[in-house]
Symmetry: C2
Subunit: 349 residues, 2 copies
Amino acid sequence: MLVDDAPGKPCPAARRNIGIVISTRVRLARNLAGRKFPTHPDGSDRLEILSDIKRVVGTLPGGDAFAWRNIDEESPLECRLLVERHLISRELAEGSGPRAVALNPERSLGMMINEEDHLRLQCLMPGLALHEAYARTDRLDNQLSERLEFAFDPFYGYLTSCPTNVGTGLRVSAMLHLPALAMTRHIEKVYRAIIEMRMAVRGFYGEGTEAYGELYQISNQATCGKNEADIIDDMDAAIAAIVRYEERARARLAASERRQLEDRIWRSWGALRHARLMNTEEAMRHLSSLRMGLAMGLFTDIRPSELDRLFLYSQPAHLQRLEGRELEPGDRDAARAALFRKSLGGEMN
Amino acid sequence: MLVDDAPGKPCPAARRNIGIVISTRVRLARNLAGRKFPTHPDGSDRLEILSDIKRVVGTLPGGDAFAWRNIDEESPLECRLLVERHLISRELAEGSGPRAVALNPERSLGMMINEEDHLRLQCLMPGLALHEAYARTDRLDNQLSERLEFAFDPFYGYLTSCPTNVGTGLRVSAMLHLPALAMTRHIEKVYRAIIEMRMAVRGFYGEGTEAYGELYQISNQATCGKNEADIIDDMDAAIAAIVRYEERARARLAASERRQLEDRIWRSWGALRHARLMNTEEAMRHLSSLRMGLAMGLFTDIRPSELDRLFLYSQPAHLQRLEGRELEPGDRDAARAALFRKSLGGEMN
């Protein structure tokens, strides 16, 4: 079992605080020189690439601490668990052929092999920690580049399978909890500002997903024409601005619509404690209310760690693992509601 | 204070059971011969008519037990309380000039003076009791007609201010709780069938109101061309058919969508226990869920009498009386939510 809850192995995504910036992610896309990209129809290189990288990682200082999993040998449920923890991408989970993930013991640092590129280095940290996350990814990248030749062009920079990653190969993102901007509809202004800054906004599960639970993933679009430090600094400034904007929206709501805010929070509490059927989207919305309530000091009936646990374990794959079996969507909604009732002290009749 | 909660004076509308037929109402429209209708612009007759009827009622056996209230002397809040208990009509409450209501000690039998007609006799009983309610109204009508000359035409029957009441002057209605027909959308078929039978369907507060709380008032349209016994029998048969239809819809829901049904009931319970703001319409919808849950044996966490009490006391005027002051709509929604929380054991933070 790759994903577990042993106290020694906290999942970074689960160590969320109740602040506005839930987590930070930095990833670097790299490819081995002279090899076909994993997206090439002739996949003959993939197994060799995987074993080459694995061998090299083993020679790094502390490299043997990485736990390797061949994704093509994992069950679909296990893959979905990893996706729900943001440890691997949906693309890696749903891909085919030899592909793998390596994770450090804290699961904050990882490598995906044969996703869209040969190698994707990733660092995931709770809260806002762009510089630290980049520094850790960069250190691993440097160690690897001493032992592997990466596809690099003096003019374009790092070469990648998709042109949108060419250059630095750097994608920096932060998961932001923006309920007040969503409630006041100012989120649309934020969307426009982000796009003007050549950044992207996505939902909880990345590209093409909805902003369930009022969680927004902000990331840089441009990977070339700017160096890594500038990308990080620009993102840091943008996130700081959005955080201030959300804080102001919360303060305004607390001053002018406190009753409506409390109503929303307590209704979510009531629904979580009493519903008999609840889908993921609704669950995330209610948990978002409680998170906002906690952050604003309007609600204290749940511990932040419990909120994080419920957030993670109400996701479809986690829920099925908890139940110990595959569940149809209807049964999943019933199991999710039962999890909340049991955890939050609602009636069990 | 006309409306009170002394144990000796239960309000018929509050003695509701959890069956499908909540209450039965029978009313007779009568006018004094040779007098102008109350709707006539020259209102000079109205005071005289009121005192004539009052004097005659006093001479009836048991007639001095009727409590009289001059509606033109009552506060708007008091009038609305009477409307919410279905003891007077909105028309009487909102009218002008000398007008009154007389109610027997149990408030099951009443007379409205100078509403649309000089005299409207009304009997309101819990559950389905058309024959009994008509018999009681008819007895009072007979006693009065021995002492007062009613406007009557050998061909048309009783003459009334509005032509729709000419003939028997009889309007028979029942308040039905039809959540399963509403949920399965079969209510529209019921609407069509009722209209074909020359009956009318209205919402909780009568003509032109919405069917809040899935409560539907069914009444006869035709007051002439049929005698009283036929009107009562036809209405009785129609109500019995609708009740069977609702029962079948409930049984089907319980068999095929039990989880959805339970989810609805428990979510209503959660909302009532935890919301901070709730308008009348939403409150009636949730109380409707609990009523259905009780009736179907799916929910036992509330006593029927408590459900009836909350139904009545969450109405705007009752709520304001409970709070002891006039409330703006926003404050009313907060007071209503607080009433539910306090009564149902939700958190009070």
